[in-house]
């Protein structure tokens, strides 16, 4: 098996390093998701209010994050934060910031869609028993919207995981960056190692995203019954 480069994978602490990179990838994805989902819920709620200027601003925010590729968003934050705002964040925090804002934008649309598809009589019943606006959201609309939006949310999570592959572009030590270092360090002795290392990374991403998409499909089918 030596010619396939298996010894590269387990030579020294290469495998531990790769797992360490994977952990970086995972915590950045998780943290951005958590922040993004919370912020997105708030923005989605605000977008159902009848305040026109607020709705326009939030819509513009959404469209900006939809139109600009995530690579470009990352570089915008990476260059502009330190130079214009004097904010020198480490690259991984820049990534969390960008991904969280991006998730919030996408999720606000999912939340808004789910909130407005909760049947009208639910809202009216809530108002009739004297709930105020906040209580209406908290006890009537959000719990029902949550089940409606679950498959779309899981799909968003798979997109976040895939997007973490861009972390290496702003030199975060993620699983791909570490994989490349291992490949470069062993390129002379094991030219085929590149297949194995990229293969392992490919497999990592596939396992995570495939299980998430299976889950999304299952939830979607369960919802329809």
């Amino acid at each position: 098996m030596g010619h396939l480069g298996t010894n590269i994978l387990f030579a020294g602490n290469n495998f531990q390093r790769l797992l360490g990179g994977l952990w970086t990838t995972i915590w950045i994805a998780l943290l951005s998701l958590i922040i993004g989902l919370i912020l997105g819920t708030i923005l989605g709620m605000l977008r159902t209010l009848k305040n026109r200027p607020l709705r326009i601003v939030l819509r513009l925010y959404l469209e900006f994050f939809r139109i600009i590729p995530t690579v470009v968003l990352l570089f915008l934050a990476y260059y502009i934060l330190p130079r214009q705002l004097n904010l020198n964040l480490p690259a991984d925090q820049v990534a969390v910031l960008v991904f969280a804002l991006w998730v919030a934008a996408e999720f606000s649309d999912i939340v808004r869609g789910a909130l407005i598809s909760v049947p009208q009589h639910q809202r009216e019943s809530g108002l009739a028993i004297g709930l105020n606006h906040w209580q209406l959201f908290r006890y009537v609309l959000l719990p029902q919207a949550l089940t409606l939006e679950l498959p779309a949310t899981i799909n968003l999570a798979t997109r976040v995981v895939k997007t973490t592959s861009l972390l290496m572009l702003i030199s975060v030590m993620d699983v791909i960056n570490i994989g490349q270092q291992i490949i470069e360090a062993n390129g002379q002795t094991h030219p085929n190692g590149i297949f194995l290392i990229y293969g392992v990374i490919f497999f990592f991403y596939f396992i995570v995203d495939y299980s998430l998409s299976l889950l999304a499909k299952k939830v979607d089918i369960a919802k329809q019954h």
Binding site: I67, V71, V72, T163, S165, I194, Y205, Y210, S213
Partner: protein, 219 residues
């Protein structure tokens, strides 16, 4: 912000702009062909091949384009498959996009009201006639919203081509920043360039979606 910097960079951005458009166009065209082929094979449940295509769709959909490109560009030459960066970009985008388009087409075909199929069978249509006169016309119009979303998505994905040094928009901007270190000007131009492509396109696609909505019967 320096206007002369912007002015001097315009020719390079125009070249990048054209390349982004061209690579998006060819990649999306390839994706549509692969996607339609996959969804047809899956629709007719062609033995063995449909299983293979399902495997391909799951594999391509659930992995990042960046890794797919690295495989094509860095790993394949080791076993003697050498392709230019542009070819890798085309193959990569088609590989990824094909799976997304396949899902969009399949979703459209699956969304047809069952009574349409029953009605077709009742008047004696065979499998092929059903597909030709009932399933495709309605299925295609039902899949338009998903296809349109994929078109926008794939154009944005071409920004990842910058990692294999294809001089499209993002790569052009990053290159210029690397040389002259004028990040504000070049990033502004980059954002505007994507806006020029994507804002009109998303408006056109929304209009198209509304037009073909009448094409779906029974809902």
């Amino acid at each position: 912000m320096d206007l002369t910097v912007i002015q001097a960079a315009i020719p390079k951005f125009v070249a990048g702009f054209k390349l982004t458009l061209w690579m998006s166009f060819t990649g999306i065209l390839g994706s549509l062909i692969v996607g339609l082929l996959c969804s047809l094979v899956q629709y007719f449940k062609v033995p063995v091949i449909s299983k293979v295509f399902t495997g391909y769709v799951e594999l391509a959909r659930n992995t990042p384009l960046l890794i797919q490109l690295f495989f094509l560009y860095y790993a394949f030459p080791v076993i003697g498959w050498k392709m230019s960066a542009e070819t890798c970009g085309f193959v990569g985008l088609t590989f990824l996009g094909g799976s997304y388009m396949a899902e969009a087409f399949s979703g459209g075909f699956a969304g047809i009201a069952p009574n349409q199929i029953d009605a077709g069978k009742a008047i004696g249509m065979n499998q092929f006639q059903l597909a030709r006169y009932v399933v495709f016309p309605q299925g295609l119009s039902l899949s338009v919203p998903a296809l349109a979303a994929n078109v926008i998505f794939l154009i944005k994905e071409t920004s990842i081509f910058s990692v294999i040094a294809i001089p499209e928009l993002t790569n052009t901007a990053l290159d210029l920043i690397g040389i002259y270190y004028r990040s504000n000007e070049y990033l502004l131009m980059l954002v505007i360039a994507y806006a020029i492509i994507l804002i009109p396109l998303s408006i056109i696609l929304t209009i198209l979606e509304r037009r073909v909505r009448y094409g779906s019967f029974g809902n």
